[in-house]
Symmetry: C2
Subunit: 408 residues, 2 copies
């Protein structure tokens, strides 16, 4: 719980109540009206009235729960769920070499997925929008749908995205930043498009489909080319008060330390990201014929060297692990989270979550008589990021649907 | 705005609406019903009904606004304010050498203040409770009140306070931690008592009475014996998801760095707090006859040495300033706040917010085409901390009053 003991205030509005009910049903997957009232704090009569509207509008569906008969009233207890057919949502994750698309229904079931190779970084926004359009068309086809069947699209892009001003301040994916890429996407598609930093959508994916399900506050830390962080507080993504927070990879772990891609010194990323490990490897280790290979394979080669006992290789991972543990400890000292999820594709590199890291984390956090936060590893590829992007489109649609019938 | 673009959900309840209305009136000081509806999103009819209850209960008062006549309806536009006489609240700040008490009315006006010298740190909880009782009695007398006129008491104590479990894990003020000090306080007083970390209440003081007024998200950084941080997000104190966050002073700025009071190495505090500066001074500088003086005067002497050109003294402040700037940059990279307030008594030591610090802050934060966060200095003594503690008691009372007439 956030700010436990500070006295939180919640106000009413019909749209707000409809949205709360839809979110509640979405989270629970299926739930009886009485439990909705319990979970949301909305009174039972209002829940009945509003769910009746939502049923009429075809946004929500009634299921019979055969196990729990409400015998007192002589009629079955009805559970509600989102009507999967109400909306179809698309989500896309933009990576260096591919665009991955997920199409989901309103209940979150995956209808199709498509990974389109051949994307590249640092391209003009119109070209990226065209690549995206192509990838989404294929995914829509695979789902047996028409492009007009899509209600909204969420897109995750690496870099600094200020969603309030819609400005992509910088992204490795685009050659023409700062720019309003959302505008380009809106001109490309006939449905609403939402763009966000990819790690924020990874956090949303963990919340909707992953280890963060049912957990109101957690941190997601990703290690790919850089180090990213998604922050979920009180069931909402926290993007920083001005929209550009969560830059864990660029928190400083050393005054005048190692040089980072961003041009500053001492960033955490400059000690633990792939380029940081490989530039050290270049100095002291001959990775057999690995120098022309892609980053992932060079890292793999370095990792094998370390495993086989190469002390220099070992020391690279050892320092990275220690610095990573110290950086994580800073997050714990600031957020005191109940859960930290290490997520992403590269998490196979054990060094970043082995005992040493957790020990360094423990050593550097407030020592009180209480268990340290739970740390869980969740390995996954681009599809889950894409599903997170689609989940964001789902949130948008829920709030549009909630506001549609708003009179008060 | 937090999580702008994530779709926030607010639910209704009568108590929640009453609380929102009271908080709105409290923040605005005086406000018309129509503006309450506007600010809270609660519909006008509900605002009218609930404020009418609150007026009947004597919690809210009507003021005539003589300037703005609502000529169309031929009657004056009525503004509402909290009834100052509805409740009296006490707040106390526990320091090393004193207990400072503030008595305020329900509208936040200071009725009396009292600083009782002679407290000391590391004493048993029963002794501290007795000191507190004495200090509060005097303050209540000064306000022309009786102890039974007090509705609630807020207490700010340095250290690690988990308000959910009511455990004081550690505090320099107490000799018998971990302990449930709230229980002792409840046995001492006949009204509800709330205990929290003092820096959290400093943030509340800034929100209610200081530079944070009307600002939904900001950070308060204090430098006293240690380095503290209060975090206000979405108008609420954020205490960390498990109640023990905001430990900015113990974030690590150097792997295996300087030894901290907490026993760990590399904490920010171990570079910038008073003891950190003075232990360096002890090594290299002869502070003329200053060694037997209290901490504040020794620091003053060191500062004068630096001002007069002593290079060793200068280098102490220089390093502290750089590390402090780097630590602040980490907060900016994580929270992207709109405002950082440097608060507290010792802020007279210019070095901690002079150009160097701000330059280091700027150098280490995300470089985009946008102004860096605003940094403001707010010098104040223990009274404002005490008022913050009383403000916390006010929040409690608002929510008690809001729930009193709750039917739905």
């Amino acid at each position: 719980m956030i700010g436990s003991g500070s006295f939180k205030i919640q106000t009413m509005s019909k749209a707000g109540n409809r949205a709360a009910i839809l979110e509640c049903i979405s989270t629970a997957e299926e739930i009886a009206r009485v439990d909705i009232a319990q979970a949301t704090g909305i009174n039972a009569a209002t829940v009945t009235a509003l769910t009746s509207e939502l049923l009429d509008e075809g946004i929500v569906e009634a299921l019979m729960d055969e196990e729990k008969q409400n015998t007192k009233r002589g009629r079955p207890r009805v559970k509600l769920c989102l009507n999967p057919k109400a909306f179809n949502l698309a989500g896309a994750k933009i990576s260096e070499d591919a665009i991955t698309v997920a199409i989901i229904d309103f209940a979150g079931t995956l209808l199709s997925e498509h990974m389109q190779k051949g994307n590249s970084f640092a391209i003009p926004k119109h070209k990226l929008a065209a690549n995206l359009k192509k990838a989404i068309s294929v995914a829509v086809d695979k789902a047996g749908l028409h492009i007009d069947d899509i209600t909204a699209l969420g897109v995750g892009i690496p870099g600094y995205v200020d969603i309030a001003s819609e400005c992509v301040h910088w992204s490795p994916a685009l050659s023409d930043t700062p720019t309003n890429f959302v505008e380009t996407l809106r001109a490309t598609f006939d449905f609403p498009v939402m763009l966000d930093n990819d790690v924020n959508l990874a956090a949303l994916a963990e919340q909707r489909f992953g280890l963060g399900k049912g957990i109101s506050d957690f941190l997601v830390v990703t290690i790919e080319h850089g180090v990213g962080m998604g922050i979920v507080l009180n069931n909402n993504l926290f993007r920083g008060t001005r929209g550009l927070g969560g830059e864990f990879g660029h928190t400083k772990v050393q005054l005048n330390g190692a040089l980072c891609r961003c041009g500053q010194r001492g960033c955490l990323e400059a000690y633990v990201a792939d380029y940081a490990l490989l530039r050290e490897a270049d100095t002291a280790i001959k990775l057999q014929s690995a120098n022309n290979l892609p980053t992932a394979q060079r890292l793999e080669a370095l990792y094998l060297e370390a495993k086989s006992g190469n002390q220099a290789a070992l020391s690279i991972f050892e320092r990275a692990g220690k610095i990573f543990g110290m950086g994580l400890a800073n997050l714990v000292n600031i957020f005191d989270p109940s859960l930290i999820i290490f997520a992403g594709e590269r998490m196979q590199f054990d060094f970043l979550y082995e005992e040493d890291v957790l020990e360094e984390l423990r050593r550097n956090t407030l020592q009180i008589d209480r268990a340290p936060p739970k740390v869980q590893v969740h390995k996954w590829g681009d599809l889950l990021w894409a599903k997170g992007a689609a989940a964001w489109a789902t949130e948008y649609v829920i709030h549009q649907a909630a506001a549609k019938n708003n009179e008060s």
